[in-house]
């Protein structure tokens, strides 16, 4: 049959081929439709898929291809124009999409391929990191081991424990076969096996120290691998197996004397111990770097720990020694105290016991002198009296001296008339001097102050002693006493290196020179003069009697007065001069009212000033407070001002002798304060006197004051005179209520 141009063929003649094509197209279409479904399904399942857009394109491409093949099925038979147009549309679309997809795939496929390479790269990196982490962990463990070891080593201060622990811990950490410590012997020529890990009690196995290997180890501070055949390494009995590697390290032994503050004595230590470590013999283990480092660190720590232990031993020894010394000192002190107490008791008893009979003897002898006596009897009585006087003086002197010696004597300081002292001495010495026909002259410098502060009695005693000596040792001639204020250059002339005068404002140095024309003294004997009981045994002095104590006591007194005393003489028969310098205080200026343009106020009976009297004044009114304060300051008082009752209670103390209170201020409960002050100071003599200042002139106020416990009442305004007399009365009678 001829084929016509119409598009409606019947079943084509090649039936079988057509049928197969038909079926294949169908299945292709099916497959084409199912692939995107599968893709969509699985992609939906997966969380991450970066190429969604590609997928959509691909899907579209496949779907359209499928559609094309599907529509193809209809073209086998006679088909209409619509089918043809649909087919054409589908094919066009398919062509478009597939071209686009092809273009896209050009970009995407290299990416997808590179993912694979990146995966390989990451896997390699992960493997490397794993290796590194393994290393770090090993190091960390090593560090931990070191710390633990150090902690173990340093937790004890006992040498043996330290060393034993070191070996044990090292052995455990490094899994050693054997670990040993060789210590230098006392001679320093050999190393002795002192501690081992496995053998319980090592035999005293020694090795000479000057071995090349040992020297090599000692010369470096690193752990050194040594041969197992070295004498120090032959620690295990030779076995079948190859001995493991051996490492040796030096351990510096530091002495106490090697510790300097600033430098670590690396160079000065000469003694080392040797630590030998052996790996297990049947393993193929090698010494790793970090293990060697660990060994070095441990060796250093051991050195330090050993030195700490040594220091501790030293200090314990020193402390024990100190304790012993303390005990001994304590004992000595107690013994000394007992001795002093015994001596004081003895002196006290002797003082009294000796004085009583002496007193009786002297008194009765003098009484006897007054009665009728024959000349012989009189002579005898006089001798008795003289001797007993001397004995009494001796007793006094001994007592004084012993008190002076142990420093228990204190000067009685007071203000006294200096001129009167000299006059008194002169008066006392004149009778004896006139009997011996000696001329005594007194010369007081015009700049010598009339009053001075010092110990009057002892000063007089000293001057009297010196003058008395001058009189005693002069058979004829004259004695001159001069006194003046010493200036600095004369002070320095005192011929005594230890006398260092210090000039100050309220002190002056009194210089007294007593020159006699008597027997003089050999200059060689002068140093002995002031020592106790030493006396010149020259003929001229034998009869003069007297103990040898006088000058010694004078010297002690003068020393107490921060002065100096010495004697100058040009030789026997040339007289001598005794010079004494003492430090005296200037008397305080009395605080009178200094008014250059006012006539002198008629001074009241009683004190004119109350120097340093501490008073407290409580007054709220500023003006009257100022006036009262000035008043009291003028009288020399030490005034504390308060403006309120709280301040008053806070500041009042037992040092304040008087408290002036302004009581007519409303708002200040003065009576309350009085009561509180009474409570605060329970002892009467500690409590300050409470005086009320008031302008109220009624009797009620006065009664209230008395009832509240006040010691006084004064009416304002107060004049200077009134305050003065009030204070005088107050301090004398402890109460003063002004008549209202």
């Amino acid at each position: 049959m001829e084929s016509c141009n119409c598009i409606e063929p019947q079943w084509p003649p090649d039936d079988l081929l057509m049928k197969y094509q038909y079926i294949s197209d169908f299945f292709i279409a099916l497959a084409y439709f199912s692939i995107p479904l599968e893709l969509i399904y699985f992609v939906k399942k997966s969380a991450v898929f970066p190429y969604r857009w590609v997928l959509v394109q691909f899907g579209a491409f496949i779907v359209l291809c499928g559609a094309t093949h599907l529509i193809n099925l209809w073209t086998f038979t006679v088909h209409s124009r619509t089918v043809a147009s649909v087919m054409t549309t589908a094919k066009v679309l398919t062509a478009a999409v597939s071209c686009i997809t092809a273009l896209m795939l050009v970009h995407i496929i290299p990416d997808l391929l590179s993912v694979k390479t990146r995966e390989l790269f990451l896997k390699n990196k992960a493997a490397e990191l794993d290796r590194e982490m393994g290393l770090i962990r090993t190091q960390e463990e090593t560090g931990r081991h070191v710390r633990m070891l150090t902690h173990e080593i340093r937790s004890t201060l006992d040498r043996h424990t330290i060393l034993k622990t070191t070996l044990v811990e090292l052995g455990r950490t490094l899994a050693l076969e054997e670990c040993a410590l060789w210590m230098p012997t006392r001679t320093g020529l050999e190393l002795q096996l002192s501690y081992t890990l496995r053998q319980q009690n090592p035999v005293g196995y020694t090795v000479p120290i000057h071995h090349p290997v040992i020297n090599q180890v000692f010369s470096s501070n690193r752990a050194v691998k040594i041969s197992p055949n070295c004498p120090v390494a032959r620690l295990r009995p030779a076995g079948k197996y190859m001995p493991g590697e051996v490492v040796a390290v030096r351990v510096p032994l530091l002495h106490l004397s090697n510790f300097h503050i600033n430098d670590w004595p690396e160079l000065s230590t000469k003694r080392y111990a040797l630590m030998v470590l052996m790996l297990p013999s049947d393993s193929a283990r090698q010494w790793h770097v970090h293990e060697l480092e660990l060994v070095e660190v441990v060796a250093d720590q051991v050195a330090v720990a050993l030195s700490h232990a040594a220091i501790l031993e030293e200090s314990m020894r020193a402390r024990d020694l100190l304790m012993e010394q303390n005990v001994a000192l304590d004992l000595a002190r107690r013994e000394a105290e007992t001795a002093i107490r015994a001596r004081n008791d003895f002196l006290a008893v002797m003082n009294h016991e000796m004085r009583t009979p002496m007193h009786a003897i002297i008194a009765l002898s003098s009484l006897l002198q007054e009665t009728e006596l024959t000349p012989e009897q009189r002579l005898m009585v006089e001798t008795v009296l003289k001797s007993s006087n001397l004995l009494a003086t001796l007793i006094n002197d001994v007592l004084d001296l012993s008190r002076l010696e142990d420093g228990s004597l204190q000067l009685d300081l007071g203000t006294f008339n200096l001129y009167a002292v000299f006059r008194e001495v002169l008066k006392l010495i004149k009778p004896i001097a006139s009997v011996k026909k000696l001329h005594v002259s007194l010369n007081l410098a015009p700049d010598l102050p009339e009053y001075a502060v010092g110990d009057e009695k002892r000063l007089m005693q000293t001057i009297l002693n010196i003058v008395g000596n001058a009189v005693k040792f002069s058979k004829e001639g004259s004695i001159s006493i001069t006194a003046f204020v010493a200036k600095l250059d004369t002070l320095r002339d005192s011929k005594a290196p230890e006398f260092l005068p210090v000039l100050s404002d309220n002190h002056f140095y009194l210089r007294v020179q007593v020159k006699d024309s008597g027997s003089g003294i050999n200059p060689l004997d002068i140093p002995k003069l002031f020592t106790k009981f030493a006396q010149n045994q020259s003929t001229g002095t034998r009869n003069s009697g007297g103990s040898g104590l006088g000058l010694a006591i004078c010297k002690r007194f003068v020393n107490l007065m921060e002065g100096h005393i010495w004697i100058e003489s040009e030789g026997l028969g040339k007289g001598c001069t005794a010079i004494l310098i003492v430090k005296l205080g200037m008397p305080e200026r009395v605080n009178e009212s200094k008014l250059p343009y006012m006539p002198k106020m008629p001074t009241n009976h009683g004190q004119t000033a109350f120097p340093g009297l501490k008073v407290l004044v409580m007054d709220e009114n500023g003006v009257s407070r100022m006036v009262t304060k000035e008043l009291l300051l003028h009288l020399g008082c030490d005034v504390t001002m308060v403006g309120s009752s709280d301040e008053c209670l806070r500041l009042v103390s037992h040092e304040h002798k008087v408290v002036f209170m302004d009581i007519c201020v409303p708002g200040i409960d003065s009576y309350g304060i009085t009561i509180r002050i009474h409570e605060k100071f329970t002892k009467r003599h500690e409590r300050p006197l409470l005086v009320a200042l008031t302008g109220n002139t009624d009797k009620v106020t006065k009664e209230n004051c008395m009832r509240a416990g006040m010691d006084g009442l004064i009416l304002k305004p107060v004049s200077l005179d009134k305050m003065r007399s009030v204070l005088t009365d107050l301090l004398e009678h402890r109460v003063f209520f002004e008549a209202i």
Binding site: Y597, M598, N621, V623, D662, P666
Partner: protein, 154 residues
């Protein structure tokens, strides 16, 4: 004016103050307390008195201005003023204060206001006088003279 003349004028002036009762013996006490260690004592005390008194007078004026007068407070102020004036020797001020206080006790408002006026008047008078006297003293000291003392016969 030369020093001697100034001194005479000061003496006469001071004497008049005492005669007229502005100052009493307490002021002399103050002068006695002045010396080299405290050369400005009188001036200081007088200045303090002026300051205190001004304040007190202001307080008093305010207190009496209130619709409900607190007589206790007024009394307290007057008491202070009396204390200060008696400490310094301002006699007339002190007397005025005493009268003031008695009227305060009676709570007589009119009388207290009158008293306040009186006190103020007296205060200003004595202030004036004291200032004049102190100025004279300053002039004398500046001219190189010394302050003459006052001997009171009573």
């Amino acid at each position: 004016m030369e020093v001697g003349q100034m001194q005479r004028r000061l003496v006469d002036y001071t004497k008049s103050l005492f005669m007229e009762g502005f100052l009493d013996a307490q002021f002399l006490q103050l002068q006695q307390l002045q010396d080299e260690s405290n050369p400005d004592f009188v001036v200081e005390v007088v200045s303090l008195f002026f300051d205190d008194s001004e304040k007190l007078l202001n307080d008093l004026t305010m207190a009496l201005d209130q619709p409900n007068v607190d007589f206790k407070k007024v009394d307290a102020h007057v008491h202070q003023l009396k204390g200060s004036s008696s400490s310094i020797g301002a006699q007339r001020v002190k007397n005025a204060c005493i009268a003031f206080r008695s009227f305060c006790e009676e709570q007589n408002i009119d009388a207290t206001l009158r008293c306040l006026q009186q006190v103020k008047q007296e205060y200003y008078l004595v202030k004036n006088k004291l200032e004049t006297m102190l100025r004279l003293e300053q002039q004398i000291v500046a001219a190189g003279g010394s302050i003459p003392m006052i001997e009171l016969g009573f």
